[in-house]
């Protein structure tokens, strides 16, 4: 597992596909984002900002100084270089925001490449929910940095609701402060190809990171999700849950979950799981959990991975109670995703995502049971 972080693009040559971190990637679709070239492209922003939170533009230098992590690959290094600074969302220390911050980004075409950089900072002891949603079409290389300071709490939801021809590569860099709590939910439903890499680092003991993901790949869609949890602080916790459903010819998903427990990270508690549900014979799902433990003193560490077909017995059971087949399928798939969806605290976002998953199944206009 590679832990190289750098702002220097030269540290990341153009991928050939032979590299471990690129071997599953939809490289053909991502190709325009390997070019070291500036771009005037940008996405349209619509925001909902609760009182007290601040959204402002900062320079590349300031963004580099404040970001949760340096880039992890060529695309994230290029995004940092060419984004022309960053947009910083500040949640002031001690402030509490039950209403979600909403950042809606949308694009109108695959050219040119859009380089983007967003920083989210949650001040000490603050509490907030941030929803970042992507719509329309774009060739988008987006870095998102999330820093949760000491004792703070953030729920961050990133929804990829792109049109079916969008291409999205991203680095979600997260940093969890001492005794801070971070929950991220990455939901990828739209786009031709997505490659989303999340890193989790800790700033002190007692950090708690809950890393969740949900994806639904249809025919021709290729979604890759990677998470790298870097435990180098003692007594921190991480829990990684990614669930995917796939249907149709050429639907493809990749999940690679790396957890590294460094010698300094005594008392670490970590678990990661990926489950994939194949709804027909067309899709393929790859699932690679990696757990590397370099200390003798862990509180708990485990991983699991499973890919299976739709369970016809579940369908039979529901239908034998009169529930029509389509509704029974919908119940089973939503049930499969329940432990990701139920973890989303904001009811509006949760129910919106449930509707989006139903729409993926093609029964979205029916009354929800």
């Amino acid at each position: 597992m590679s832990n190289l972080r750098s702002y220097d693009v030269a540290d990341f040559p153009v991928p050939t596909g032979r590299e471990e971190v690129w071997r599953f990637a939809p490289r053909t679709a991502l190709k325009p984002m390997f070019d070291d070239a500036p771009s005037e492209g940008h996405l349209q922003w619509e925001t909902v900002l609760p009182e007290g939170v601040v959204l402002r533009e900062i320079s590349t230098e300031e963004a580099t100084a404040r970001a949760a992590s340096a880039p992890v690959d060529r695309i994230s290094a290029l995004a940092a270089k060419h984004a022309g600074g960053a947009v910083l969302l500040e949640i002031p220390a001690g402030s509490q925001h039950p209403e979600p911050v909403v950042l809606d980004l949308s694009g109108t075409g695959r050219e040119p490449v859009v380089w983007g950089w967003i920083l989210i900072e949650v001040g000490e002891g603050a509490s907030a929910t941030v929803a970042l949603r992507h719509f329309g079409t774009a060739m988008y290389a987006g870095n998102v940095s999330v820093v949760v300071k000491e004792g703070a709490r953030l729920e961050f939801v990133s929804v990829q609701a792109w049109d079916d021809d969008a291409v999205h590569a991203g680095h979600l860099a997260t940093r969890v402060g001492r005794d801070a709590t971070l929950r991220t939910v990455v939901v990828t439903l739209g786009g031709e190809a997505a490659r989303l890499v999340q890193t989790v680092d800790y700033d002190g003991p007692g950090g708690d990171a809950d890393v969740r993901g949900l994806y639904f790949a249809d025919a021709g869609q290729r979604f890759e999700h990677r998470s790298f949890v870097n435990h180098d602080q003692p007594h921190c916790r991480s829990n990684v849950v990614f669930k995917g459903a796939l249907q149709g010819e050429g639907a493809r998903s990749v999940w690679v979950g790396d957890v590294l427990i460094q010698p300094s990270a005594v008392g670490t508690q970590t678990y990661e799981i990926n489950r994939n549900l194949l709804l027909d014979d067309g899709p393929r799902a790859d699932s690679v959990p990696n757990l590397e433990i370099l200390t003798g003193d862990v509180a708990g560490a485990g991983h699991a991975s499973a890919t299976g077909r739709f369970d016809e017995e579940q369908l039979f059971y529901l239908r034998s109670r009169g529930i029509p087949e389509e509704q029974a399928r919908r119940l089973v798939v939503l049930g499969f995703f329940a432990d990701v969806l139920d973890g989303i605290d904001v009811p509006m976002i949760r129910s919106e995502l449930m509707r989006a998953v139903e729409a993926e199944l093609g029964y979205g206009d029916q009354e929800s049971a």
Binding site: F316, S320, R321, G322, P324, G335, A338, E367, A369
Partner: protein, 254 residues
């Protein structure tokens, strides 16, 4: 008067890549208001009959007919059969992770009744039915059958029976895995539904345990995919006293 009429039913399953005939001409008529027991040793075809009636895709009907209330049951999909009034209480109820019992029950009741019950009366109805079966209210928020004990699963099946109020119910080995107290609670549930006087009930069992709690009028003995003996409750007593050998020939244990 409603009727469930099974005539010369032949059913195959796939076994080691080849079709294997399990039911070889079953005849059975159940009228609404009646309670029948189908008894027989393990492997005689009792559960196959139950699953074939419900329409499980693993069972292929190769001959015969099943008519419920004048309608050709075999022509209907699994869910159509349930909506037409057939209920199967399963021996091994299936886990459906992430689907709560309350969501499941409401979906089923909505489908079978043809309209969603009003929320307030529904909650009262569901909680009442759960209380009758000594089911903890927290049950409603658990995933269907997930992590349920054997007894909880069976109580959950009978809970559905009570809420769905079918015309005909087939109870497949409902007594298996139940301790004495749970058997009593479950039997009371079945008897409450029977007390309406309209439902036709088929109890599938290989022991007489359940029949001591739920009185039956007719007993049918199944062996090698056919009904080989029929009679009243005295037939069950005969089986209890002398086993199945009298019907099956030597070498078969009850």
């Amino acid at each position: 008067m409603t009727e469930l009429i099974i005539r010369d039913l032949h059913v195959e399953v796939e076994s080691d890549g080849a079709p294997k005939e399990i039911l070889r001409g079953v005849d059975l008529t159940v009228h609404g208001g009646q309670t029948h027991a189908i008894m027989g040793p393990n492997g005689s075809g009792k559960s196959t009959l139950a699953y074939a009636l419900a329409g499980h895709p693993a069972y292929t009907i190769t001959g015969g007919s099943v008519v419920m209330d004048g309608q050709d049951l075999l022509d209907m999909s699994v869910d159509e059969r349930a909506r037409a009034g057939l209920f199967l209480a399963m021996q091994y109820p299936v886990e459906v992770p992430g689907v709560s019992v309350s969501n499941f029950l409401r979906s089923a009741v909505t489908a079978v009744r043809g309209e969603a019950p009003a929320l307030r009366t529904w909650l009262k109805e569901m909680r009442g039915a759960m209380a009758d079966l000594h089911v903890d209210p927290s049950f409603a928020e658990r995933s269907v059958n997930e992590g349920f004990s054997g007894g909880e699963r069976k109580r959950h099946e009978i809970l559905q029976l009570e809420l769905l109020n079918p015309k005909f119910a087939v109870l497949d080995e409902t007594d298996s895995g139940l301790d004495v107290d749970a058997l009593k609670v479950v039997s009371e549930g079945v008897n409450r539904v029977r007390a309406g006087g309209e439902i036709g009930v088929v109890l599938i069992t290989h022991t007489t345990r359940l029949l001591k709690q739920i009185p039956v009028e007719f007993v049918h003995v199944m062996w090698q995919g056919r009904i080989v003996a029929e009679g009243g409750p005295e037939l069950a007593e005969q089986i209890e006293a002398d086993g199945y050998e009298q019907f099956t020939g030597a070498g078969v244990a009850g």
